[in-house]
Amino acid sequence: MAAIVELQGIAATFPGADKPVFSDIDLTIERGEFVIVVGASGAGKSTLLRVMAGLLAPSAGAITHRIETRPDRREISMVFQEARLMPWRKVADNVALGLEGLTVSGTERDQRIADALKLVGLADYGDRWAHELSGGQRQRVGIARGLAVDPDLLLMDEPFGALDAITRQSLQDELLRIWKETGKSILFVTHDIDEAVYLGDRVLLLGGAPARVVRTYNVDAARPRSREGEEVGRVGAQVKADLSTLFDEGGGI
């Protein structure tokens, strides 16, 4: 496997704050890898994604992209917690948002929108308004928008956190299918440990103040996985135990 993004000693500080949210984060993401970040609120999970997306400059450290840049794609794209669809755009035009800055012909643009919508199971929804969709469908559009720019790394910020349990499970399985079909790397933030160990190859636990990577877990269960599988359950229990230890220590959680 080849590394696509490397983080070395990354720290982030909010404007006006004197202490960083997190510091000394080292992280290498391999091509095709599914990496999860967990940790309680305030540990800077979302902030880490924003730094990687280039929305926030790190206060220390270096990010190295080992991805070939091309004018017709973005190396990294992001899926947000609430789908963040633009209500004044139809579904297809929402998916087009990322393509608008790229060098892509009209035909290819339409093709990529259609492909992305098909991939998330919304092939016939391009002409709908965002408000005509359910919460799960909106988030599928958010994923299609992220995929349409053909990124190597998809950053996902608690994308299923606002959905009901059944929709969440079905979207988790959809995401695994999409991940397998496209071979994208995914960096996925969640506070749901069961979701983390069901989806991820690797789970990072953030904790402390400022937060650091407290521990990394490898989930070696074969895919397709069972939510009740032995390895999935074992790692899940371990993460939960470590989280509650962190909580007892008052480590910034």
Binding site: A53, R74, R84, V149
Partner: protein
């Protein structure tokens, strides 16, 4: 016809009927309250004398110049102030000071600066329209969801121009358009007053007629303004609904 339309027409008819009855009862002098049945003949005479369309066109001219320039400058200034915190700070006391001045209080300056001219009338109309648009555009731009701005930035739309095109203008459009619509009404309210000091238009004709106690002429022009406002508002709402067809 829907029940609502019928009731609306009924209300209007009842109003005219009561007005007619009161006017014919003889309790009130005809000059003080002309009967509505006299109005069609008055309108015909105003039209055949050539006054009506001359006055309407002149007023429309002042109105449109004032409305378009007031709306445009108001939206631009309000949006700019909302986008740049330093400009916002500069305007905070200035706007508080200038805004409460009624457009009509500017009449002396309008005459000194522009003379008794069409520009003077357009200027007075424009001032009222400007402030309405200034504050609604300011509020609308400030209220744009920062999450959507961040979303656009994450997909590479980071320059001011890109932010404006992709997020801020479409997101603020409902607010900006409702401000423009309010300005549309405000403009008609100022038209008459802006013409009172001798600039050709509906206001001037009304003033003349009032001086001669030709109150039925005054009423014909009052209704003309109501009609013009109704038509312009209806056209605007049509356009507005087109632009905002994405709204539920």
């Amino acid at each position: 016809m829907s029940r609502r339309t019928l009731l609306g027409a009924g209300g209007l008819f009842a109003f005219l009927a009561i007005w007619e009855l009161v006017a014919r009862s003889g309790f009130i002098e005809a000059t003080l309250l002309p009967a509505p049945s006299r109005l069609p003949a008055t309108l015909v005479s105003e039209v055949s004398l050539g006054f009506w369309h001359q006055m309407v066109l002149a007023s429309l001219n002042h109105y449109l110049i004032g409305l378009v320039s007031g709306s445009l400058l108001g939206v631009l200034a309000g949006a700019a102030v909302a986008l740049f915190p330093n400009l916002d700070a500069v305007q905070s006391w200035l706007a508080r000071m200038l805004r409460p001045i009624p457009p009509l209080a500017w009449i002396p300056f309008a005459i000194i600066w522009f003379g008794i001219s069409e520009t003077a009338a357009a200027f007075i109309i424009g001032i009222g329209v400007f402030w309405i648009n200034y504050f609604t555009a300011y509020t609308a731009v400030r209220a744009v969801d920062p999450d959507l701005v961040e979303l656009a930035a994450s997909f590479g739309h980071r320059s001011l121009g890109a932010r404006l095109r992709k997020v801020i203008l479409p997101a603020a459009a409902p607010g900006i358009l409702s401000g423009m619509r309010a300005g549309l009404g405000q403009g008609w309210m100022t038209v008459v007053a802006a013409e009172l000091f001798g600039i050709t238009g509906i206001g001037q004709r009304m003033n003349e007629a009032a001086g001669l106690l030709a109150t039925e002429v005054v009423i014909v022009y009052m209704l003309t303004i109501a009609l013009l406002y109704g038509v312009s508002d209806m056209l605007f709402v049509k356009a507005q609904n087109r632009v905002l067809r994405w709204q539920r």
